[in-house]
């Protein structure tokens, strides 16, 4: 006869209400685990998507994600000529506040030739007037047919040879055909990718390297731009943030990297080194913050479970005293308390997990949960409930059988 189950059935409403509260708390804690995983996944998403074996960046920097890196565009030629390198491409990265008319569900623009008319109609006769919905994008400039382009197109097409085209991530809410304005230049979205985001969680947009260099120039402060145009200083326009290289399967990445590191003014990072920079440096604070918050939430859950179990045990003081008086062994009393704590945890965990899995796509940042995460979290909840029940067990074992007697 399972006393814990019978007691729960007797007070089912109260038990389910308690489970609902605990489930919400555990759901939030599990969401933090998912967000933690999502932050790491998003941090690596762009680097993985570019499928680079080697990153050539400015000497003394760990760029382009961790620090500023700017190198001449023609470095690509030198890298491409290295033994073992099968392809190399210059890339730029910049975070841009773009605007697009009509909101995320903007209707596709008409034919390319009529795009300007369409924009004028949408943005008003002023034409250049900056109106529309603001959209934060991580813009990657790359050379078509060279490494650095979008990983895969899920809708529409890739960028052709033409200018002012863009492939955007689906997370931006843009549809193929939508017009986007950045730095006073308008781009037409021609294709979409899936789940390509920057380390900060912004959707990624790809444009040609020439367009991105122009964009970088346009977004430079006016004084620096004037100096640059007059040849009086500042950065030359043909620069990239990094050159990425893909190597032959037989090439030894470390040897190629070591060769580049011997060049003056340049540094090289292998793909694993880039991952370390991304996870240990770029998102380290966010990772630790979320990790710490998760631990705090789990501790709060443990305290709450302990209090619930303690209260449930206190409510059963007379019943437990009666059980002791009629000869129930301590094992039966401990089982009653612990089983209830575990059932509470199990139902709360199941409820919280179901709720989170149903709602995770509504989170602004990616919530990534694998079966192993859910399984591990379940084990943690099991441990928490087991530990939390000890308070109730201690109370139950201290109840005197004599407390069953009298009024």
């Amino acid at each position: 006869m399972n006393l814990a189950l019978r007691d729960i059935r007797h007070n089912l409403g109260r038990f389910l209400l308690t489970c609902l509260g605990l489930g919400l708390l555990l759901g939030v804690a599990l969401a933090m685990v998912g967000i933690y995983r999502g932050v790491v996944e998003e941090a690596l998403s762009l680097a993985h998507g570019l499928r680079a074996d080697l990153w050539v960046v400015e000497a003394g920097s760990r760029g382009p994600f961790a620090e500023a890196s700017r190198i001449p565009g023609d470095v690509r030629e030198a890298v491409a000529r290295l033994p073992g390198v099968i392809a190399a491409g210059g890339v730029t990265f910049q975070t841009v506040e773009a605007r697009h008319a009509g909101g995320p569900d903007a209707a596709p623009a008409p034919e390319p030739g009529l795009a300007e008319d369409w924009v004028r109609e949408r943005l008003g006769e002023a034409g250049r007037q900056r109106i529309g919905t603001v959209l934060r994008l991580q813009v990657v400039g790359y050379e078509p047919d060279r490494p650095g382009g979008p990983p895969s197109i899920v809708e529409g097409r890739g960028i052709g040879r033409g200018r002012r085209e863009m492939v955007a991530d689906r997370g931006s809410g843009l549809a193929p055909g939508a017009m986007v304005e950045m730095g006073g230049v308008r781009f037409r979205v021609v294709g979409l990718t899936a789940r390509a985001v920057s380390t900060g969680g912004d959707p990624v947009g790809w444009i040609t390297l020439r367009d991105s260099q122009e964009l970088q120039f346009r977004l430079t402060p006016p004084a620096a731009r004037r100096a640059q145009q007059g040849g009086g200083g500042g950065q030359p326009q043909d620069t990239v943030n990094a050159v990425i290289a893909r190597l032959s399967p037989h090439a030894r990445v470390e040897e190629v990297a070591a060769g580049i590191r011997r060049w003056k003014h340049f540094a090289a990072l292998t793909a694993p080194e880039q991952e370390v920079v991304l996870t240990r440096s770029v998102v380290e604070r966010a990772r630790r913050q979320i990790g710490l918050f998760t631990v705090v939430l789990l501790l709060v859950s443990a305290v709450i479970v302990a209090l619930i179990v303690y209260t449930l045990t206190m409510d059963k003081m007379r019943e437990i005293a009666t059980l002791k008086l009629i000869g129930a062994p301590d094992g039966s009393i401990v089982a009653l308390v612990m089983q209830q704590a575990l059932m509470l945890g199990a139902v709360g965990f199941a409820g919280g997990t179901t709720l989170l899995l149903a709602a995770k796509d509504a989170f602004p940042r990616r919530v990534l949960l694998g079966p192993e995460d859910v399984g591990s979290f379940g084990l943690v909840v099991f441990g928490i409930c087991l530990l939390a029940s000890l308070l109730g067990v201690r109370y139950a074992l201290r109840i005197e059988p004599a407390q069953a007697l009298g009024g």
């Binding site: 006869m1 000869g327 007697l405």
Partner: protein, 237 residues
């Protein structure tokens, strides 16, 4: 020759230390034979409940000798063995407010006492059903305690107390929550059980209406036995 089932010799019990010490029982000597229904009466603080708790092995005496069902349970210290198992096997308890577990129906409240003694659940439920029928509450077997009347609940509690055929039945104010008619029914039941099962029934009570149902009535005052009478006029049931 029949031996007493409950035997106390020179038992004493006090609470507290130093000047705050209260002597709850002093030099109590009494015995109860099989089939005997013994009442313990007295004003509040006279030591009735303490005496019941000593016999139930819930409290430890300070001095004297306590023997239950022929075995010495306490003499200077507890005899080796599990007191809870002793209670489970030899003692049945009936409480003032029945103390049925609210989350078990009537039949499982009785069956629980049997399963604690190692009886398989199906067999325990069969025996519990027989007991409830015997106590004329078989029709309420599947009712939860909250749905039982006071008399029904007390009969279910008696069934639970009898489930393991205990030789000693201890009852703490078993009729306090009942009207006089139901109180008489409960006392008749206890007398019948005592006779049929050769058990000793020890009842703490204030209820003068049932004094006549005892074979022996022991009056306590200030922790000592003050009176001992044989009021029973009721015919054996």
């Amino acid at each position: 020759m029949r031996a007493p089932l409950v035997e106390l010799v020179g038992v004493a019990k006090g609470f507290g230390e130093g000047e705050a010490r209260v002597q709850a029982l002093s030099d109590i000597t009494l015995s109860a034979m099989p089939g005997e229904v013994v009442g313990l009466r007295g004003p509040s603080g006279s030591g009735k409940s303490t005496l019941l708790n000593l016999v139930a092995c819930i409290l430890e005496p300070d001095a004297g000798l306590l023997r239950l069902a022929g075995e010495t349970v306490w003499q200077g210290r507890w005899a080796p063995g599990d007191l809870r198992a002793l209670r489970r096997e030899k003692i049945g308890f009936i409480f003032q407010f029945h103390n049925l577990l609210p989350f078990l129906d009537a039949i499982d409240n009785v069956a629980l006492a049997l399963t604690l003694n190692g009886v398989p659940l199906a067999e325990a439920r069969r025996r519990a059903r027989d007991l409830l029928d015997y106590l004329q509450v078989g029709k309420r077997a599947s009712a939860m305690p909250a749905k039982l009347s006071g008399g029904e609940a007390q009969r279910v509690a008696i069934a639970r107390a009898l489930a393991n055929h205990p030789r000693i039945i201890l009852a703490d104010e078993p009729t306090a929550a009942l009207d006089s008619e139901r109180a008489q029914v409960v006392m008749d039941l206890l007398r019948r059980v005592a006779r049929e099962q050769s058990a000793t029934v020890l009842v703490v009570t204030h209820d003068e209406k049932i004094f006549s149902r005892f074979d022996r009535l022991i009056g306590l005052r200030d922790g000592r036995i003050e009176t001992e009478t044989r009021p029973s006029t009721a015919e054996d049931v």
